[in-house]
Amino acid sequence: MGLLTDPSVGHGALTSIFVRHHNRFCILMYIASVVLFCMLAHDSFSSQTYFSENALLPGLVKGQLNDNTGSSFKDHYRELKAEAQYFETETPHSYLISKFKNLRLETYSHNFTLNYPLKKNTKYTGRNVYGILRAPRSASIESIVLSIPYRAPSSVFPNTLPGLAVMFQIAQFFRQQMYWAKDIIFLVTEHEQLGMQAWLEAYHGTCCGSPGVLDSGKLSGRAGAIQAAINLEIHSEKIDHIDIKLSGLNGQLPNLDLVNLAHRLCNKESVRHTFNNVDGGAIGRNKVNTYYTNLSTMLSMVMTQATGVPDGNHGLFHRFGIEAITLEGYEKKGRGIYVSVLQVGRVIEGMFRSLNNLLERFHQSFFFYLLPSTDRYVSIGLYMPCLVLLVGALFLKAFSTWIQHSSEHKLGDSLSKQATISEHLNVGVVSLITLGTHVLGLILLPNFAPAYFTYFWDHISTHRALLMGYGLLSFIIVCIMPILMKKCLNSFKVSNWVLLHVICLLELGIGLLCVSMHNFSLGYLTALVYVLPAIFTSSSQNKIGVKFLWLLVHPMCSLIWITAIITYMAYPELQIVDYLTKVIEASGQWMALSTVDNLVYGNWAFSISVLLLLPVWTSFWCLMFLPTNLPQKYKTE
């Protein structure tokens, strides 16, 4: 505070240069940030990945999983396919249970219920099946999870039956081994992420989303603290490559050691492995090509992470302090060399044996990173400056605005002594506006508003109701605020609204910093959109162009144009009318999904937009329409 109130500040040569040219500096910082961010993908900014945790000892033992003892993969797969065909839309629970029991695992099942939050009296039920391999001599205090989402043949997602057959074979092999020090849980979940979330909540006896939405039920068998989890999705017997997926809920990432472990063991078993479906290494690429590949890989990771939606079932583990990744095996189409499921099985065997070695839970290596390639990483120390530059631009703007004002104010003081600070800054009006916009944000939280919207428009589908509700409300606010500001606050005319402006800038800056601490990608992308228009605003007499620009970045507008871009990229061939309907529909669906994600999983992407972006946006919008008069000195001149 000393910096902002000390009257002597703002008279140094450097400060006056900053103050005079702050807009240029801000733009310069913005450009520097973007350039720096793009540079991150270059090899000089990223470094080679390495193992921090020595206890993992990856690949020290030879993979021993084979088809010779017990039932082979083919037997399991044939049996499973026949069973799956019999149950077109359901999970063959009793088959899975008896299969696990025959493999001599401690077998349990787990029931859960979802009370759909946006429609009254709508319930979905599901059932997970899991078997626990009890490690000999250990007291079941630690465990590792191998999970597979079960997909019935009618599912829209690619099937996971080959993965399940691999799991059976692995379980059969693991059961014969003496060396386990941690229990191994083989988990088959239902309903994609919902089943996983329910199982995890039940395992930890908590509720992560809104209370009463997901009734996670009770588990009767546990195996201590889960140290790591691997989620397996293998779509075919002949695999083209294994894609290793990381992004978790709210952009949380697994420990880099686990990711490296997967890549390293794939390498060892000569399994083609990718990150975001891009091969690692620079073999056969020139420098420029490598850079572009790295950049696009990194950008796709940022995009995935920014949504805050996990890209596999592994993403739900992270919240519980469990490091997890998904190995997704894509089908090899056509002829040529393929990866056999047995190779993938050996990768998993190697990973489990490494994880079995762990003495301590994962605590070394990185938890915050960006990956431009399978074998390179950008550490937090390098990517954070990009965001700091953006937020720094906001802070510089705020600082300069305040200094400018205080020097003007001193000038004004000498002209008219009677004006006190409180009159000059209009603290009352400013706090009223700030408070009002935040209360508005609170009301629009997913726990309150959506249920009313869907209740009110009972006859139309949920996503349309939500879009209409939020859209209408936003439209009203956008229209009513200028009128309200102009008409009602005419008596509070001042030369500028510097306090409101500074508060808005600082709140946006601090909010973005906080968000990026948890989810850098989300914070950075939001900053990219909001920082530039925020820099162009001024504390009085905003130009019509700035107002229009600001209108464009309204959270709802942003949602729609982002959806428009994505839709255009996905379906470039659509007619304009079809295209627009599709964009609107998709936006609505995104809102509905986001709301449900928030209520069920505790995803806070929606909350951020409603609690941070919307209030700040509205405050800025008010600022642009607050009545001002020209400063005294100009008048006298």
Binding site: R134, P136, R137, A139, H204, G205, R319, E360, R361
Partner: protein, 581 residues
């Protein structure tokens, strides 16, 4: 002569008749292909003075005598007994080390004796029982002279088995204890060593019983060569029985064949007789071997589901809130009274107001409740709850706790592994007929013929680990390295500046061979260069070393020209060839 010896021998044995010794082995095939074997070596004697003994281990007798111990139970266990699928063991012990003792009623300083006892036993059994202090032991609410403690982190291994075997009269050379080969014992899925000493009083007359027990559970996956649930003595213990212990009154092998009705199995030898129709008994006299052929059932056997079993886990994630839940499942058709004892270490402070006891989801009031709050680094949180478990119900006891910050020396090695929390104890009295086997008498056969109505079972729940907020222990190391480097770098200049005075002297130049050669080289080079410069016509390069420009010395500051001249000479000679290129 021989007569005399005989008389001495007889007198000796006559004196010793006050002690008796027996060896028993009980084998029970459990569900889902596990085999439980329980060894019991029992010594019963008539006095507890231990001035002389021929069978009772002297080292243990001394300890018992010295610390006025009335009753002692020590269990060293590796693995977890799975009540849900294995039923009840003969001796229920939690994973790790567990010790409880009751001292004589007239003992004045019980704590002193308790710490003395644990220290002595830790030496005797090579365990870490010496880590027992007030912060991990408790006294019973009802009994002033009773102490209990468990060390869940204790690893049980060969070094405990060897001293344990040395307490036996026949050591491990003869008798059933020759079956206990450490390689095979520690290959079992569960193994537990026990020492149990107690008085058996009947109408004022007391006998003293010492039972040394071993519980082993083998998985037929590892001991059976085929896919069946076969087992044999050799497969389990690596050897058959060659010699019985001559000091034992009897050596017997019992085999529970009650699973015969569902899964028929074949024993390689006819038993000597049957007890209660389904316990095959062998009198072990000489060399003995036994194997069993048990076909694997076609349909996977479902779990046993004993009358009562427990489940314990922590709830919550992160390090903000945590909860501890103990569930007790009562499958009996009658209500059962249970006593639950939770001993929670001081670093897991529980909130008493969050204690909820519910039965099938409905909150119930316990019959009795004793709570002794813990104290940081001194006392555990002790919670004793007496409950009536409704028939066919699940009773849940939950309490919230906090994660505390510890002092940095209080973290164990491998701090990120987590902190072990020991098991809770559930004591239940059940009707004797409700469980197939009981083990509270001196000899196994006595249990089978017992006519008592009740049987006390003591369930120990699972241990678990929690992660307390753990600092980055490598950070101080990094800081030390960095600080030391900085200090080392700074020390030299600072030491020089503070202890030495700068004095201007003219450099006395003593030419050595090397410098003469160098000078020669310079001279030749200078000539060559000057020729070159002359040719090019550029003399500016020489100007760099004009003395007025160099009178500012980089480290010494402004110095006199005289000094600089000498310096210039040196730098000139050294740097010239470098600068040239």
């Amino acid at each position: 002569m021989y007569d005399k010896f005989l008389w001495i021998f007889l007198a000796f044995t006559g004196y010793v008749r006050s002690e008796s010794y027996s060896e028993e082995l009980f084998i029970k095939p459990l569900a889902t292909g596990y085999v439980y074997s329980f060894f019991q070596f029992t010594i019963v004697r008539e006095d507890n003075a231990f001035r002389h003994s021929s069978l009772f281990p002297h080292s243990l007798g001394d300890i018992i005598n010295r610390f006025h111990v009335d009753e002692l139970n020590v269990d060293l266990t590796s693995g977890l007994w799975r009540h849900k699928s294995w039923g009840y063991p003969a001796v229920d012990a939690p994973s790790g080390a567990e010790i409880s003792a009751r001292f004589h009623n007239d003992t004045i300083d019980v704590n002193k004796n308790w710490y003395g006892l644990t220290n002595a036993l830790s030496g005797l059994l090579c365990t870490s029982l010496n880590f027992i202090n007030s912060a991990n032991s408790y006294e019973s609410s009802a009994d002033r002279v009773y102490r209990y403690s468990n060390l869940p982190r204790e690893n049980v291994c060969t070094e405990n088995l060897t001293p344990w075997k040395k307490l036996l009269p026949c050591d491990s050379t003869r008798g059933l204890s020759s079956l206990l080969n450490s390689g095979h014992v520690h290959n079992a899925n569960y193994h537990s060593l026990g020492i149990h000493f107690r008085p058996l009083c009947n109408a004022g007359k007391c006998k003293y019983e010492l039972r040394q027990t071993v519980s082993l559970v083998y998985d037929s996956t590892f001991i059976s060569l085929n896919n069946n649930y076969d087992w044999s003595l050799r497969k389990m213990f690596g050897t058959g029985l060659f010699k019985t212990c001559p000091l034992a009154d009897f050596s017997k092998l019992y085999i529970d064949t009650s699973s015969n009705s569902s899964v028929p199995y074949l024993l390689s030898q006819e038993p000597d007789y049957f007890l209660k129709d389904n316990i095959a008994v062998y009198n072990l006299i000489s060399i003995f071997h036994l194997s069993a052929v048990v076909p694997r059932p076609k349909i996977a056997v479902s779990e046993l589901r004993p009358l009562l079993y427990t489940d314990r886990f922590i709830t919550g994630f992160g390090q903000e809130y945590g909860g501890l839940v103990t569930r007790i499942y009562n499958e009996h058709r009658l209500p059962v009274t249970a006593k639950v004892i939770e001993n929670i270490p001081w670093f897991l402070p529980i909130y008493y107001h969050t204690l909820i006891v519910s039965s099938n989801g409905v909150r119930v009031n316990p019959k009795a409740l004793i709570y002794k709050p813990g104290k940081g680094r001194i006392r555990i949180y002790y919670l004793e709850i007496v409950l009536e478990l409704a028939p066919r119900s699940v009773t849940e006891i939950s309490v919230q706790f906090d994660y505390v910050f510890l002092k940095w020396q209080e973290y164990p090695p491998d701090a990120n592994h987590g902190f072990y929390i020991g098991s809770a104890i559930v004591e239940v009295t059940i009707p004797r007929h409700a469980t197939s086997l009981t083990f509270d008498k001196s000899f196994i056969a006595d249990n089978l013929n017992s006519s008592e109505a009740d049987y006390l079972i003591c369930l120990k729940t699972e241990n678990f680990i929690i992660t307390l907020p753990t600092p980055d222990f490598s950070m101080p190391y990094n800081v030390i390295c960095l600080a030391c480097t900085v200090v080392a770098l700074a020390f030299g200049p600072i030491h020089n500046i503070t202890t030495k005075r700068l004095k201007l002297t003219t450099a006395k130049y003593v030419p050595g061979l090397a410098s003469i050669l160098q000078k020669l080289y310079m001279w030749v080079e200078n000539i060559a260069l000057s020729k070159k410069i002359n040719k090019v016509g550029n003399s500016a390069a020489v100007k760099v070393y004009a003395p007025e420009e160099l009178s500012y010395h980089p480290t010494l500051g402004h110095v006199s020209e005289e000094f600089m001249n000498n310096q210039v000479y040196i730098s000139y000679t050294k740097k010239w060839p470098l600068l040239k290129h």
